[in-house]
């Protein structure tokens, strides 16, 4: 089944699970600990936990709380949000987060990916990119701290790869929460030039949307938020995950 990875992406703000639309209008979903327990019992491939409050502000990370979350997780878990230095990363890693997602910190400290990947190895470091499609169908990188990024999207992704990121997470803000499919053009462009694994994020409303990306780009890692916290047309809140059979049928054996 070509090593397909399907990853619930949990957005956390003040210890609450939320879900956004185009990175705005956060809706309260539930308790992160409860969600992590349920995803564990559903045997999900991996979990991605992004503290969007941390990434927007520089207030300190609540390590005690994250320790509780990590200790309930017997599957791979990646944490992102507010990782700005090696000591912070070491502390998170020791709690049981074996992957760390680095996003805004790169604009403050371009060497941080290199520092972290030489310490932990590339496999533990995810370089995350938030990007938005402009009116002219270009892609621009968006950083919470409003710093300007002088790279084009592709050059930025290449830079993360060269610095030692083991994977690249692509958040397409304009697709977030819409559940109408991933940005195929964006992913195809990156997949062609980037040789490390890419994790597609934002837009999944159905497993077939993942299949669309896989067929066109060969990308085999898919993160999704809404798909795994909402159910039905009315978007009732229900933590869910497709069963193995459904995944197998979608991607073929």
């Amino acid at each position: 089944m070509a090593n397909i990875r399907i990853i619930p992406c949990l957005l956390m703000q003040n210890k609450k699970l939320i879900k956004t639309i185009q990175f705005k209008d956060p809706q309260y979903i539930g308790d992160p600990l409860n969600a992590i327990r349920i995803y564990n019992s559903l045997f999900v491939d991996e979990i991605m936990l992004l503290d969007i409050h941390q990434s927007a502000s520089s207030s300190s990370i609540d390590f005690e709380y994250l320790k509780i979350l990590a200790s309930e997780c017997f599957i791979p878990i990646c944490y992102g949000g507010g990782i700005s230095s090696l000591p912070v990363a070491i502390k998170l890693y020791s709690l049981g987060f074996e992957k760390l997602s680095i996003n805004a910190a790169v604009s403050e400290n371009p060497k941080i990916i290199k520092t972290l990947s030489s310490y932990f190895g590339s496999q533990s470091i995810v370089g995350a990119i938030d990007c938005k499609k402009t009116l002219l169908s270009q892609y621009k990188i968006v950083v919470h701290n409003k710093k300007r990024i002088r790279y084009s999207l592709l050059d930025y992704a290449r830079m993360l790869e060269e610095q030692g990121a083991g994977e690249i997470l692509i958040n397409a803000i304009h697709k977030d929460g819409l559940m109408t499919g991933y940005d195929l053009d964006l992913l195809a462009m990156l997949a062609e030039k980037i040789s490390i694994p890419i994790i597609a994020n934002c837009g999944a409303g159905h497993l077939n949307h993942m299949k669309d990306v896989f067929t066109r780009t060969g990308i085999n890692a898919f993160a999704a938020g809404s798909l795994f916290v909402y159910s039905g047309d009315l978007k009732g809140i229900l933590i869910n995950y497709p069963d193995r059979q459904e995944i197998k049928e979608t991607f073929g054996n």
């Binding site: 990875r5 564990n40 017997f74 599957i75 496999q123």
Partner: protein, 205 residues
């Protein structure tokens, strides 16, 4: 002495993930870098994530190398090597210049990168057991574990191979010889599959 698992701390690897899972299984464990505790252990886990040479250096700096070797070879204490811990049990690694423990007739080699099979090999993959079937449970019609690695073990003695996995080509995902087991995958991150594996290591090995 009480049967408990002693997790060797040499400053590399996600030790809390292992002890979290053991705690969930009600298996007593300690994390230590003390040579005397390692020599007196009933079961050992040699974890590890990171670079081969750094690991060898760290183990030697902590005065653990000869102690671990003697615990495993002279005292025959059962040991489980995980990921880099498994690779340290081989004779050498293409990742570094240092020699491994060399307990298993095998070498650690680089996975060859291509368009379809990227390096590192990250994700769940099927594991096909060749012996010690009881270590491997079958859920949802598959046996699979979580992998994150850029190097693999080439095991030269077919009888030592415990399980194989297919990536760009088949490789040894677990080996076993006498009191030694090494696994390339991460049981501590492989929920029910990993729990069954660790429980068997504790109870039946």
């Amino acid at each position: 002495m009480e049967n408990r698992i002693t997790i060797i701390d040499y400053g590399m690897g996600n030790l809390n993930s292992i002890s979290n899972m053991l705690a969930r299984l009600n298996i007593p464990s300690i994390i230590t870098d003390q040579p005397d505790l390692i020599c007196k252990a009933t079961k050992l886990i040699l974890p590890g994530i990171g670079a081969f040479d750094t690991a060898v250096k760290n183990i030697k700096e902590r005065n653990l190398w000869d102690n671990i070797h003697s615990a495993v070879i002279d005292k025959k204490i059962p040991i489980l090597g995980i990921c880099l811990g498994m690779q340290l049990m081989t004779k050498s690694s293409e990742e570094g210049k240092q020699l491994g423990f060399g307990w298993i007739n095998s070498d650690t080699k680089k996975i060859s990168q291509n368009k379809q099979y990227k390096v590192p090999h990250i994700g769940w993959n099927t594991v096909k057991p060749l012996k010690h079937q009881n270590f491997f449970v079958n859920y949802h019609d598959e046996i699979k574990f979580y992998f994150v690695h850029s190097y693999y073990v080439d095991c030269y003695q077919p009888e030592d191979i415990m399980a194989v996995t297919h990536y760009d080509k088949p490789f040894t995902s677990a080996f076993q010889k006498n009191n030694i087991i090494g696994v390339q995958f991460h049981p501590e991150k492989s929920h029910a599959y990993g729990m069954a594996f660790l429980k068997n290591f504790y109870e039946n090995f």
